[in-house]
């Protein structure tokens, strides 16, 4: 049972229900002649099963960094998960989030049980580039969305939004956000050879060992060998500042 906390969600559900009942009224009006003396038999009205209304969104992610490719973009639609958004500052990262943040592997993240619909981009998003993901649902409660991607030349940096209410979005309306970098807190930021999956290293991504603070927070940026971290294989080029991605969502249906 999902409860809707915001007025906007209630309004949206309400207007969907109104549309549905208006359809029913229109259809039933045709055969509403039971009490008239019909000379001819009333025409048989076949009521087709209502076509489910489809909601479709295009989510576009722009890579704002200098040299941090983004792992394939994961997008989910879900109901109101409230406090159980897919990550929260100060709380431990789930293993699927750890896999995404350390290795760019979004398979388990997309398979989250809260997902009503999920979709990912085919490729990485290079610095300066944008990519779009189209996601569709007929489920009336799919009013929240999550988007996530890894900054691949890091130990466990990711960016995205989770549990964002899009119930008030009208067709052709869009919303945009500039998003900061998170640290999943699951891997030490040593920037060392063999620990990062991106092209700057080509190392191992996900490692189940949790040797960092073990809670999600904002990322402090990469240090790089050029700025005094001797264990680092990164250079000045891989440094970043907030925000790191731009997210735009447009409702198309």
């Amino acid at each position: 049972m999902f409860t809707f906390k915001t007025n906007q969600a209630n309004r949206s559900m309400f207007s969907k229900a109104l549309v549905a009942s208006a359809l029913t009224l229109a259809l039933s009006a045709c055969s509403d002649d039971d009490n008239t003396q019909a000379i001819e038999p009333p025409p048989v009205v076949v009521t087709p099963p209502p076509t489910p209304v489809e909601y479709s969104y295009t989510v576009t992610v722009t890579n704002l960094t200098n040299a941090q490719p983004l792992s394939p973009i994961a997008v989910l639609l879900h109901g109101n998960t409230g406090e159980n958004a897919m990550w929260k500052t100060g709380a431990r990262a789930s293993v699927p989030l750890e896999k995404l943040a350390e290795g760019g592997d979004n398979a388990d993240f997309l398979a989250d049980e809260s997902a009503i619909a999920n979709q990912a981009s085919d490729d990485v998003v290079l610095p300066g580039m944008s990519t779009s993901v189209i996601i569709t649902s007929t489920d009336l409660i799919a009013n929240y969305f999550t988007v996530a991607t890894m900054l691949v030349n890091t130990n466990d940096a990711f960016s995205g939004l989770t549990g964002i209410d899009i119930s008030s979005l009208a067709i052709d309306e869009n919303k945009s956000w500039n998003i900061n970098a998170y640290d999943s807190g699951t891997e030490l930021n040593n920037e060392a050879a063999g620990t990062m999956p991106g092209p700057a290293d080509g190392g191992i991504g996900y490692d189940s060992t949790r040797d960092d603070v073990d809670f999600v927070g904002y990322h402090s940026g990469v240090v790089s060998q050029d700025d005094g971290l001797s264990s680092s294989v990164l250079t000045q080029a891989h440094r970043f500042d907030n925000p790191v991605i731009k997210v735009t969502i447009i409702r198309t249906k």
């Binding site: 904002y218 940026g221 240090v223 001797s230």
Partner: protein, 234 residues
């Protein structure tokens, strides 16, 4: 007749002041970082002619005591004397990385601006701050992301030292000690901008027993924002 006049003027006063209503605020502050501690937080609703700090201005001695040593008692006294509504130390000490603290603030008429500050550690004179946010009249929930400021009162040598205003170095409360280095030589003894400004961030190094800085470059750096403030107006 005199009594009627008095009650009329009371009525007139209450009508006039109803444009600036007292409010109940539920406030939650989250330390977004994974390596910085916040010292006791002071939050105040105050009039438009008053506040805790302003970028581009020199720090008051009270702000300096907060930014260099985490001592908010001077700011609390100053704000209280200016008829502000003040909340102090909601976390009961340090607000650790990733942690949140919540409190309520009842505001009096005319206290229509909200300000907040807490020292960030490790730093010489860094603080997280909100300066004179206009409190909306309508009920609703607002999220504000806060940046780190430099009070401009102490050189950022990034060395273990003192929290006493005017003395060099950083105070080191116990939770901070394990990750801090020692015996650094000091990054600088100059503070270029002596007015309140956005903190340039710490440099740190990866040498726990020497180097220029006692700060760890892979644990104690930050990118703004460093805190999230959620304000619900009832």
């Amino acid at each position: 007749m005199k009594i009627i006049n008095q009650s009329l003027s009371v009525l007139a006063l209450s009508i006039a002041s109803s444009t600036l209503l007292a409010q109940e605020l539920s406030i939650s502050l989250t330390n977004l970082t994974q390596g910085l501690y916040f010292t006791p937080v002071v939050t105040a609703a105050h009039s438009s002619s008053y506040g805790i700090f302003m970028s581009g201005s020199a720090a008051t001695p009270e702000l300096q005591a907060m930014a260099e040593g985490g001592d908010i008692s001077g700011l609390v006294t100053m704000l209280t004397n200016a008829n502000a509504n003040v909340d102090e130390n909601p976390a009961g000490g340090l607000l650790a990385p990733g942690m949140s603290t919540s409190f309520t603030l009842s505001t009096d008429d005319d206290n229509m601006r909200l300000s907040l500050s807490a020292m960030i550690l490790p730093s010489n004179d860094g603080f997280v701050g909100l300066s004179g946010w206009d409190i909306p009249q309508e009920s609703g929930t607002h999220t504000i992301f806060l940046n780190a400021y430099d009070a401009g009162t102490e050189a950022n040598d990034e060395l273990r030292g003192s929290g006493v205003p005017g003395e060099a170095g950083m105070p080191v409360p116990p939770p901070l000690a394990p990750n801090l280095g020692m015996n650094g030589t000091g990054l600088t003894d100059v503070e270029n901008n002596t007015l309140i400004h956005i903190h340039r961030g710490s440099i740190g190094d990866d040498d726990l027993t020497g180097g220029k800085s006692d700060i760890s470059n892979s644990i104690h750096r930050w990118l703004n924002p460093v805190a999230k403030l959620t304000i619900t107006i009832q």
